[in-house]
Symmetry: C2
Subunit: 247 residues, 2 copies
């Protein structure tokens, strides 16, 4: 696994600004959990007992609706937080968290967090900033899903993944985790079939390369163009191939 490890609590926005001694105390309150691929950290609907920070590996957060429809909310990588809900007592996890690869997560039990926030107001303020920022992008994403066409959504999803979990290879940027067409579909809110067709088109155009649960982005610029609807209409005329490196 070439994925980076992330062990520095001070770098986590939640604990930013705490003194070394305090950080040590915080670290002492955590439990480390190890998950094998496909193993669940927690289940949607269960009481939220712990907040987690990923040390190494990756989690997939997905939500399942009353009708059985499933949506991948986001992926959580090293250094990122999941289950902010656990900051408060008596909440339920709104999503399930599943490891996509072998994953290590530092977990803080809910009561410890409450104590922490009372003793260090700084932590509460930090905590406030995180969901607040996420909330700003939230309507943005909603608008995108509501109004953009599928090709744009899929392209956007790929680019986002590339930023968060991309690894440079001589082929281009490879998404550094198993990512099936189905995952991509559930991330973009569409079906496997449409994703498959899109990927086939893009592969023919030289934008991406794929395999079983594997995606490589060879020409990010082209995907950006699609995401921005600059070239969304033509499925026939490839119009752009990888020329030079212009990242």
């Amino acid at each position: 696994m070439t994925a980076p490890e992330h062990d520095d609590l001070g770098a986590c926005p939640l604990f930013a600004g705490l003194a070394a001694a305090e950080l040590a105390a915080v670290a002492a309150g955590a439990v480390e959990r190890r998950l094998r691929p496909r193993e669940l950290l927690f289940l949607q609907g269960d009481p939220a007992l712990e907040l987690g920070i990923v040390v190494a590996g990756r989690l997939k957060l997905n939500q399942i609706g009353a009708d059985g429809q499933e949506l991948i909310v986001r992926y959580v990588g090293p250094g990122e937080i999941c289950a902010l809900v656990a900051l408060f007592a008596d909440q339920l996890y709104p999503v399930s968290a599943e490891a996509v690869v072998a994953t290590r997560v530092r977990c803080w039990p809910q009561p410890a967090l409450e104590r922490l926030m009372l003793e260090h107001p700084r932590v509460a303020l930090n905590a406030l900033r995180i969901p607040s920022e996420r909330m700003q992008e939230s309507p943005e994403r909603l608008r995108v899903v509501a109004t953009d066409r599928v090709a744009q959504r899929v392209a956007r999803s790929l680019l986002r993944l590339a930023r968060k979990a991309g690894r440079r290879s001589e082929q281009g940027v490879e998404i550094d985790m198993p990512l099936s067409r189905e995952d991509l579909a559930r991330l973009a809110g569409t079906t496997v079939f449409t994703v498959s067709r899109l990927m086939a088109d893009w592969e023919a155009a030289g934008l991406v390369a794929g395999g079983r649960e594997r995606v490589v982005i060879r020409y990010p610029h082209g995907l950006v163009a699609i995401a921005e609807d600059l070239a969304a209409r033509q499925r026939d005329e490839p119009e752009a191939g990888p020329r030079g490196r212009e990242d």
Copy 2:
């Protein structure tokens, strides 16, 4: 205007748990703004200088995308907060806020809020709870938009409005503010035309009654059925008319 007034700061989740004297101090820091219909409280992209709590009336928060696409994020009624972003320095409003009727809003300037949170940690904790809760419903709404069909989304939007801004009349539940088909479309992420057709069908089925910028829900149960996809497929067979009151 039959709309309720909302003047009690203690009832607002942001200031819950403060002593009477503290509340008085808080109240002293606010400015009251009066808006006429269609007047703007703030504009998307402007620096977030103030947080507001609606006293009377109603605000419409809408976001406009790079492509010009417009989406109504939510309506803000008496007692509700808007522009939580203003809790932090150097943020931009992610949406625009427009009064849909004559509206009064209590506004707190950003620096005052910062002082408040430092002096009363309680306020910071309260503040944390709000976006945190909203974040939980956020993926929910995303999933709905991504996977549900338009009829369901519109039905859901109507029901949500009825809960927040509904007024009982002998006809049923009337949405107590001017609400055009266009508004409804932008709220549900669709077009005026589709909304118009749906409303026509539902009116024929006796579920709703409408007029220019006016909507009355005569048979909420029927809308719920549509929202839950129990009867989404049939546009011909009405299948349910208002029989008795079974709210």
